[in-house]
Symmetry: C2
Subunit: 304 residues, 2 copies
């Protein structure tokens, strides 16, 4: 009986179960985030654009990544070339460092490395944009440890320097970025990583190309590499990449159509506020704030 009550109550730990506020009866009905989403107008959602959506197909399933050519046009372009030429097919997840990053690309080095084909082997960094012209900017109300202004830029978690106007994509859980050498112009997008732990110190130091919209658990639950920095010491530990494709390369039947909540919508604002200040019966002390990386973007299949 106790356990019967406790287990669902731990429901209270999740975002989806905000209940009515615990006020004097009769309580005013407070919508839960799930109810807010269910009641949201279709116009508050945007379909992922196939030309900007990558499918990373692993044996366990599909990881779906939305790319940001607005922040990383050249790296996304290079990724388009490599994907078209099937560079990634047959490569692998080569590194999982607990609470930090999952990285994939070519496990081989030197002469045994897979040729990059027509893709550029080096690209100038795209760490920061000079401004947000042409980018929809939804600012979050809270202060941030790493930047004076944070929010969502075209739906991607991002930060902005109000003094200079410069803006950059942030390293939150699921953010996908380009590995490089010490030389800041040494990346090509042939090795990518996704953040699985605190990594904001990488902001403005690496080119973030997008973020995972579905299937993140296929990366985050992989066995941790036991080598230095989480690289797999034994090739058998690696997870093979079956194929990497832009959604636009596939026939409709092989696509996974998703839509994301628009971060410039009233629905997003309402849900963010519900998460900043939990008013359900479980929470006793609403936080009053929310960290940029604690805001998760609602994503759902598009009803056929």
């Amino acid at each position: 009986m106790r356990a019967a009550r406790r287990t669902p109550r731990l429901a209270g730990l999740a975002l989806t179960l905000l209940a009515t506020a615990a006020v004097a009866q009769p309580p005013a009905k407070t919508l839960t985030p799930a109810e807010v989403l269910d009641a949201s107008p279709k116009a508050d959602w945007r379909p992922l654009v196939p030309e900007r959506t990558l499918y990373l197909d692993l044996p366990a399933g599909r990881v779906i990544i939305e790319l940001s050519p607005a922040f990383a046009p050249n790296h996304v372009g290079n990724l388009r070339v490599m994907t078209r030429e099937r560079y990634f097919d047959g490569l692998a997840v080569i590194r999982v460092q607990d609470n930090f990053v999952v990285q994939w690309g070519d496990p081989e080095e030197g002469e045994r490395a897979k040729p990059l084909g027509s893709a550029k082997p080096r690209l100038a960094p795209e760490f920061v944009r000079p401004d947000l012209k042409g980018v929809a900017w939804t600012r979050l109300p809270d202060r941030d440890v790493y930047a004076d202004e944070v929010g969502f830029a075209d739906g991607f978690p991002a930060a902005r320097d109000p003094k200079t106007g410069r803006a950059w994509l942030a390293h939150c859980y699921g953010s996908v970025a380009v590995a490089r050498d010490n030389d800041e112009a040494s990346g090509s997008a042939s090795q990518l990583y996704a953040a699985i732990g605190p990594a904001r110190q990488l902001d403005r130091n690496l080119t973030v190309v997008g973020r995972v919209m579905q299937g993140m658990e296929l990366l985050s639950a992989l066995p941790r590499g036991t080598g230095r920095l989480g690289f797999y010491e034994d090739a058998k530990g690696r997870t093979p990449i079956l194929k990497l494709r832009f959604a636009s390369e596939l026939p409709a039947a092989e696509r996974t159509p998703l839509e994301a909540l628009r971060t410039d919508s009233k629905t997003f604002e309402t849900i963010t506020e519900l998460k900043r200040n939990r008013r359900d019966a479980f929470y006793k002390a609403p936080a009053g704030h929310i960290d940029l990386c604690a805001v998760t973007l609602p994503v759902r299949p598009i009803a056929p």
Copy 2:
């Protein structure tokens, strides 16, 4: 060749490889955190106290948890009773919700639930301490999204309200806390969870009893539950708890002696500053700040 260089350079992504600063030659030698740790006096380290150290033994290995009776005396006391009476042995990890929590305890409910024995079935909450009297407090220099003051309290990530003096343990990666029902006095420590993603909104709402010092990847890499809130739908998905023991219950040969860096040491201050502002050749824009939950506490085996 490119890959040969890129792979180690991603070394730059990790804390352990801070190299000399990229200044005009000859560069002043900047110690890496690893070098700082190697050079640290023995007095900057403290052994984990066996009476406050829990071993959660899973089939894949041992998760080592340091407990905080200073913040949660009654819950730690109850845990001591339950552990002595072998309450947890044979129970299981029952929930893994991606980017949120891993939870363990009794998968059965109602009449089939395992009796709690002499342990109390309900405890008053220990969410917040009225002050930090008797607790060593190392304040971090940075602002925080969730609290005006953050730092380490007896080595545990914590927050403090400078107006009231009240203090509480924070939900960072690896923090271990007590599941409960909506009633704030309904927890007993018979179900515990560890945070594997952003969970600071739970601060001051749940009783944090400690945090994982070693073996966190044995929890964080578990398959995500596919049921509601990450509960396993199929009992076969659960990970059995072989046994839960205080280190002090075991003979010396079965213990895993660890020591942690003292957070009130000069070494800790130096390392934290090296992480706040990365000066190695990889980083181009030092963050200038560090989030409480991005500070990881160095832990190492005690040389026999």
